[in-house]
């Protein structure tokens, strides 16, 4: 196990270097540099000397390769650089915004599991019943309705029909005012959680159906065990493995920034930070956030792999 973990950690290094190079190149390949992104068409009013002086100010005057290596050597020392727009260290911006996205992601996952797993189990057990049909329709809707539509719908219904809306654009941290914070985060979390619940439900249902047709379940039944015991003791644990994988991947995505929902509900998380960084061509910020998201993804995948060994004894990364 330890050896496996060490191996995994070492294999991270080339991956992150690859990501860093790709992002570095990609953001520079996009037309429009930081200066035009900030000044818009007025950038055309700059004289050559003015532009040169701005480029020097933003460090754009050096060749890209040199820019990459100076950035990389800073990163290795734990310094992700400065956001030129906000005049703050990229790392502190990320740590400012990340808890928001983390909270949103965790809540969405909880909502998704609370709805998805019971619904999936029930509809597998009572296959083709009314409940099953209802659940499958729910899943189809959940998967096909895009987040921006659901989010806008939620806002519209709340504000127009009920005249209420959790104060938007004025996000409050959980520790400052838990109640207000939850009011602000619950609707975005529901929006994200619903579509996520749909995929959890489908995955739970199909893997449950598969497990229920396995031989050992038949054996258990023939021993005359209670159906509920069979499901709890034997089926559920095995059926959960693909669900855990799914949740892991989805959770990684959520932490990568729930761009659209954060935009609609004006939640200041990683997603909005990234969008704005890209539109502003805030190079250091884009690079820093992307690296951070990549690390997140890798770490979560690792955790999921470790979790397998806990759920399913057949899986082991033995020494």
């Amino acid at each position: 196990m330890t050896r496996y973990l060490v191996q995994r950690f070492i294999s991270l290094i080339p991956m992150l270097v690859g990501v860093s190079i790709l992002v570095f190149i990609a953001i520079r390949l996009v037309p429009g540099d930081l200066i035009t992104a900030q000044l818009g068409t007025e950038a055309g009013m700059l004289s050559d000397a003015q532009r040169a002086s701005l480029e020097a100010y933003y460090g754009l005057d050096k060749p890209p390769v040199e820019q990459y290596f100076s950035w990389m050597s800073d990163v290795l020392r734990g310094d992700l650089g400065l956001s030129v727009r906000q005049g703050q260290p990229v790392l502190s911006l990320i740590f400012d915004r990340f808890p928001v996205t983390l909270e949103l992601a965790i809540l969405s996952v909880i909502i998704a599991l609370l709805i998805g797993i019971p619904l999936g189990i029930l509809s597998a057990i009572y296959r083709n019943s009314v409940l099953d049909i209802f659940a499958r329709v729910f899943a189809m809707i959940g998967l096909s309705v895009p987040n921006f539509l659901l989010g806008t719908l939620v806002i519209y219904v709340l504000s127009v029909y009920f005249g209420i809306l959790p104060t938007s654009g004025n996000y409050v941290e959980f520790y400052e005012d838990p109640s207000l914070n939850l009011q602000q985060i619950i609707f975005p979390a529901l929006t994200l959680g619903t579509s996520f619940a749909a995929s959890v439900m489908r995955m739970t249902r199909s893997s449950m159906l598969e497990v229920l047709s396995e031989d050992y379940i038949r054996t258990a039944r023939s021993k005359g065990l209670w159906e509920s015991v069979i499901i709890r003791r034997h089926a559920l644990k095995n059926a959960m493995i693909p669900v855990v994988t799914l949740v892991g991947i989805e959770f990684g995505y959520l932490l990568g920034g729930t761009f659209i929902v954060e935009q609609i509900f004006a939640i200041p998380g990683i997603g909005r930070l990234t969008i704005n960084a890209i539109t502003q061509r805030d190079y250091a910020l884009v690079q820093g956030v992307t690296l951070f998201i990549a690390v997140n993804f890798v770490v979560i995948n690792l955790l999921i792999d470790v979790l397998y060994t806990v759920i399913d004894p057949r899986v082991s990364y033995g020494d």
């Binding site: 005049g87 806002i155 519209y156 009920f162 005249g163 938007s168 654009g169 935009q263 930070l273």
Partner: protein, 502 residues
């Protein structure tokens, strides 16, 4: 069912209670979709930035509701008889937010900073005729010009010509230290989240009447609308007519629509074939029913306009070439150009910038089909669009251009020889060039009007661009917000007069 009902009730009471609790004090809570991109008034040019900075910084002069120049940090001003010197008398007793006095020294330091190439101020070209500055006393400043330059005065009515403290210029970085003379002081700026402004108790003018302004950034305008309806914000800036018009009949929310100086335009690059043929450009102009563009793309929210959008210079539309749609003439012009078969017109459009851009392009697409021009729409993200636009790398573009108070400042950047946007405009014309030079030095208002009337007619006739319409800018407020004056220049400066009586 009963349970559901009671749940909904409990929820509404819960949320209702909270929305009451927030903002008991006299702070104006304002929402807008886009945030400033930076805080240095001399280098920031984005609308969104200026709309924050104009609350904090003041120029020598500004414009009122009808775009007349009014005094701010200057009390009065005059050109010398030969037009080569512009003298300002400054307001006495004004202090900066850090407590230091405002004097002529600050004016000179500010303009020296703007004109310094190291600063990288895009607006500097508007003040290029300044040769030297002197301060006969603490409250008088004389700008000596290299050429008579009437438009320079209205160009100074801009936050890009804001007066900074000479101490800050000498010792600090104005993109980090925000010290102005304006009605509000910047307390905190969390980009894309929230900005807090406090009232300046020592402001020289009447007001402010609120304790401060909290500006919340809500990127989605539909969410801003929802927040207005739910009563969680007091005041909002809107730009999408599709959203704003939903408020027109609203009994609870006041919508202000102000005709804007900005104009929507189809820019044709005469440097590209077959647009280099006068007849082809004219045919496009004649083929377009401009009112239809307004009606379909912007729900009728706007007015068909000629090149000059300010009331004092605008011409009656019937005085302009082909402002009535005339398909026969358009076809004939196409035939004259040997283009009966038509051609493909590639039009670049920035995504959602303005929100109606794509709809405008689509309407033009359907209209130009009548003269066999097939329009190919190329939509792209704003920064990409700007990049291609600046490089002149396009055939035609749908654009929302910002207007200026003075016609010279508005257009010299495109059509005067050697202008910064020559590459973008891709069109040169001696008549336009001469008229603009005349307009720059002419001090008599009537003569100036004549010059720019001819200028507009010539533009419409040669059709390097096809002017479509000027839209509205929108602000919306709760009924208890009073004293707000919207202006055609979109300025927020007059928030200094707003009162909140909840």
């Amino acid at each position: 069912m009963k349970k559901l009902l009671s749940l909904v009730l409990t929820l509404s009471i819960l949320f209702g209670a909270f929305s009451f609790v927030s903002a008991q004090d006299n702070t104006l809570i304002m929402a807008r979709a886009v945030d400033a991109t930076g805080l240095d008034p001399h280098t920031q040019t984005a609308f969104a930035s200026l709309r924050l900075l104009e609350l904090v910084y003041e120029p020598l002069v500004t414009t009122d509701q009808d775009l007349n120049l009014i005094p701010v940090l200057a009390t009065d001003w005059s050109f010398s008889d030969d037009g080569m010197a512009l003298t300002f008398n400054l307001r006495e007793g004004v202090t900066f937010h850090d407590g230091s006095d405002f004097t002529a020294e600050d004016v000179i330091a500010s303009f020296e900073r703007i004109l310094d190439e190291e600063t990288g101020s895009a607006a500097a070209s508007n003040y290029a005729s300044i040769e030297s500055m002197e301060a006969p006393d603490d409250y008088t400043v004389v700008f000596n010009l290299s050429t008579p330059d009437v438009p320079i005065l209205s160009a100074m009515a801009s936050t890009n010509a804001a007066i900074l403290s000479s101490d800050v210029i000498a010792n600090e970085d104005p993109s980090l230290v925000t010290v102005g003379t304006g009605p509000f002081m910047l307390e905190s700026w969390t980009p894309d989240e929230v900005t807090n402004l406090a009232a300046n108790p020592d402001w020289w003018g009447e007001g402010p009447f609120v304790d401060g302004i909290e500006i919340r950034i809500i990127p989605d305008e539909a969410s801003i609308l929802a927040a207005l309806r739910a009563g969680t914000i007091d005041f909002a800036l809107l730009s999408d007519p599709l959203i704003a018009t939903l408020l027109i009949d609203s009994p609870d929310i006041v919508l202000n629509r102000t005709p804007s100086l900005s104009y929507n335009v189809l820019q044709l690059r005469a440097a590209v074939e077959p647009l280099d043929q006068l007849e082809v450009r004219q045919a496009i102009s004649c083929a377009i029913d401009r009112q239809q563009v307004v009606d379909t793309a912007a729900l009728g929210e706007g007015k068909v306009t000629g090149p000059l959008t300010m009331a004092s210079y605008a011409l009656p539309l019937e005085d302009l070439f082909c402002y009535e749609q005339d398909l026969d003439m358009a076809r004939e012009l196409m035939a004259q150009a040997g283009m009966e078969e038509g051609f493909t017109l590639n039009v670049i459009v920035a995504n959602a910038e303005p929100p109606v851009a794509t709809s405008i392009a689509q309407n033009l697409q359907s209209q130009l089909e009548a003269i066999n021009i097939s329009v190919e729409i190329e939509a792209m993200e704003l920064a990409t669009y700007v990049d291609r636009w600046l490089a002149g790398d396009f055939m035609a573009a749908v654009a929302l251009n910002g207007g200026r108070v003075d016609p010279y400042t508005m257009y010299s950047r495109y059509w005067q020889e050697g202008a910064n946007f020559q590459e973008t405009a891709g069109y040169l014309d001696d008549t336009l060039d001469t008229l603009m030079k005349e307009g720059q030095v002419e001090t008599d208002p009537d003569a100036r009007y004549e010059i720019f009337a001819e200028f507009q007619q010539h533009l419409a006739e040669t059709s390097p661009w096809v002017w479509l319409y000027a839209g509205y800018t929108y602000t919306a407020q709760q009924p208890y917000v009073t004293g707000w004056t919207p202006t055609a220049s979109d300025s927020l400066y007059f928030l200094s007069a707003v009162q909140v009586d909840k």
